[in-house]
Amino acid sequence: MKRTSSTTYSNISGLFAIVLMGFPVYWMVTTSFKPKGDILSTNPTIIPHSFSISNYVEAVTKEGFAKALLNSVIVVFFTVIISIIIALFASIAVARMKFKGKRIYVASILLVQMLPLSALLIPIYLLLSRLNLTDKLAGVILTYIAFVLPFVVWTLRGFLVNIPTELEEAALMDGCTKPQAYRRVLFPLMAPGLVATAIFAFIQAWNEFLLAYILLSSQDKATMPIWLAGFTNRFGTDWGPLMAASTLTAIPVVIFFSLIQDKIATGVTAGAVKG
């Protein structure tokens, strides 16, 4: 008796949570497909009764869309490639080798991950302006690499320690050199982990707003989040196109994220509960 009542309570609460958590996403998507008249109405309807793609047309023809998309793609591409390569090296050292100072290295990796970004804005801005890297995509890429690195190293390490060393040892016995053993045995086994981590770095770089906002000042350097923020000006906000643009910005993240979320969710807390 008690079991059924607590299940009912869980189910009702679950439905309630679905509606409450899901509503903002629902409202974003439905607003984006509403014609202007329905959006600017004092009696908004929860269930849309007409359908229009004019907001999407307006969003993608808005000044700067193509440029922002290109800039984001450039920033994401280099951040992911470079950080993954650097982190791969480091994670092999941490997961597979014994060396003096390893604990300190791991501790500092975890420590820098905890540094509040907003506290470091000032010196990063001053450093990059000294290096003539403000208002350049290269400066943003450089900072993104540093900010995703700790997590990427830590996560790759997690994937690596789960691959038994016996496999590489067998390859070494068969006459492989160490780099060969890594390339032929370890890397193929690591591939899923590498992809998941790369997607994580992709999402971080695609979503980041604050650093880009500080470091990039000219309009033709804007990334997607900066472009999104530009829908609000002193005349107000163009809600319909903003919701269309928001949906467009979220789509790639939703697709990639759904592919890796189980790996990331367990990656952060892996090993915390021992079965």
Binding site: A17, I18, L115, I124, L149, F209, L228, V254
Partner: protein, 300 residues
């Protein structure tokens, strides 16, 4: 024989492998931390930027900050705001996660999908949507309240800082909930069933099972999630900044906004650095706790 001498020889490989990451982190994070510390002891304004060198003023910046009554207000406000967001997101997240274990698989599947969808929302997207939901004109919330018979017409939710912070905090907590809920749920499903059954056979009631088995096993997860939430929520910047059209009034200043305004608004970079450093120090205890937990896990 060869093996032994090989093991004793200094091996450069691990150091070569970690070197690129050390260089990148040292340049972009290590050096700025050093710079932040040195800046906090300097007067560094527009004149100093042009000269490329700050003027050492000792503890002047800290003295000025700590004697400014506004600072203490801002610190208190930031702590309350952080505490509110952290406790709401952890309590609701834990509650949802425990319910997810018991709910109908179909409902759980839909809830999980919704949570992942919310988790995937880029920060700027979620802020934009929440701004639209609580906008001054044509807000759905205002419309619903009006339709229930309360006359609000166009309501600006941000004139009142309480409702303003409630909405901003709601948006932050909404974005943080999926990670918290799914992490706790994942941990809950990892608690071995036979352990619970054994306890039940031994006569433990549900409360005892929770207190003596589930809670101790979940404790590390909670410590990590609470520390991360405190660190994230304490430094919330973009939400406040964009909700208030990039010009938040003084009642909306939190530590992060305050440091930002001092530096980029007033060009008092030394003062901004001092405030930022105080932020980092405020988080040292939490960070230390998190670090210890993570290192312990890393050892196994």
């Amino acid at each position: 024989m060869a093996r032994i001498s090989n093991a004793r020889r200094f091996k450069p490989w691990p150091y070569l492998l970690i070197a690129p990451s050390l260089i990148a982190l040292g340049l972009i994070l290590g050096f700025p931390v050093y710079k932040l510390i040195s800046l906090s002891f300097e007067r560094y304004g527009l004149a100093e930027i042009i000269a490329g060198e700050g003027v050492f003023v000792g503890l002047e910046n800290f003295k000025e900050t700590f004697t400014d009554p506004e600072f203490w207000n801002i610190l208190k406000r930031t702590l309350f705001f952080t505490l509110g967001m952290v406790s709401v997101s952890i309590v609701v997240g834990a509650w949802l996660a425990h319910l997810m274990v018991k709910m109908h698989p179909g409902i759980r599947y839909v809830l999980n999908t919704v949570l992942i969808l919310v988790w995937a929302m880029p920060q700027l997207v979620s802020i934009s949507v929440w701004r639209w939901i609580f906008s001054f004109d044509f807000s759905i919330v205002t419309a619903v309240i009006n339709s229930m018979g309360f006359e609000m017409d166009n309501h600006n939710y941000f004139v009142n800082t309480f409702s303003g912070f409630l909405i901003i905090g709601g948006c932050v907590a909404w974005g943080a909930l999926p990670f918290i809920t799914i992490s706790i749920y994942a941990a809950l499903t990892q608690v071995p069933k036979d352990l619970i059954e054994a306890a039940e056979i031994d006569g433990a009631n549900p409360r005892q099972v929770f207190r003596n088995i589930i809670f101790p096993m979940l404790l590390p997860i909670y410590i990590i999630l609470i520390s991360l939430s405190i660190i994230w929520d304490f430094q919330v910047f973009s939400h406040i900044w964009i909700f208030l059209d990039s010009r938040p009034s003084a009642e909306y200043y939190t530590m992060a906004i305050y440091a930002f305004q001092k530096s980029f608004g007033l060009s008092e970079y030394g003062m901004g650095a001092a405030i930022s450093l105080i932020m980092i120090f405020a988080l040292v205890g939490v960070t230390g706790y998190y670090l210890r937990q993570m290192m312990r896990m890393g050892d196994e």
